[in-house]
């Protein structure tokens, strides 16, 4: 479910907050089944938390270190999310 959710956001700008409190804003380049994330054109939010990676414009983030991903509200289809969640829950119950 969330894999396809993120695939629908490829090309959009998101902010990834990691478990070590780093916040990275970037354009979602790709995602995989583990929700590992590749970001292009990254900029930092809050210089104090950020160990300077000025040389880096693209990065790969392992899915397990992500705490949150802030996504733009206008690109999310709420009806689709609601319906997909109901179907997911029902599928898990049958398994």
């Amino acid at each position: 479910l969330f894999f396809s959710f993120f695939k629908s956001l490829i090309g959009k700008e998101v902010i990834v907050e990691l478990k070590n409190d780093l916040e990275i804003k970037g354009t979602l380049h790709s995602v995989d089944q583990f929700l590992n994330i590749k970001l292009n054109n990254i900029t930092v939010i809050d210089e104090e938390k950020y160990p300077h990676l000025m040389a880096v414009s693209n990065c790969f983030v392992r899915g397990s270190v992500v705490r949150y991903v802030q996504v733009p509200a206008e690109f999310t289809d709420l009806e689709l999310l609601h319906d997909s969640s109901r179907i997911e829950a029902r599928q898990q119950k049958k398994v």
Binding site: L1, F2, F5, K19, L35, G63, S64, V66, R67, Y68, V69, Q70, V71, P72, A73, T76, L78, L81, H82, S84, S85, R86, E88, A89, Q92, K93
Partner: protein, 92 residues
Amino acid sequence: MADTEEPLDLIRLSLDEYIYVKCRNGRELYGKLHAFDQHLNIILGDTEETITKYEFDEDTGEEFINSTKRKIPMLFVRGDVVILISPPLRTG
């Protein structure tokens, strides 16, 4: 009549409703549940996040420093930080 409803079914009943999510590291979220899966990955709309920092005082015991962050538009929360999910807490 709830016929062998699993916890995930109970969460499903809260879709498109406001919920309270308690997360690791003293974080709490109030937001509208838009999506979830069996890992408890969650999409929360219109979210308010509260981070509660503790200051330890040797004499009296624990003391609180409370800080609130707010993330409004749309937030994906990874399932492994979620501790519990509940309808919003009401006083009383």
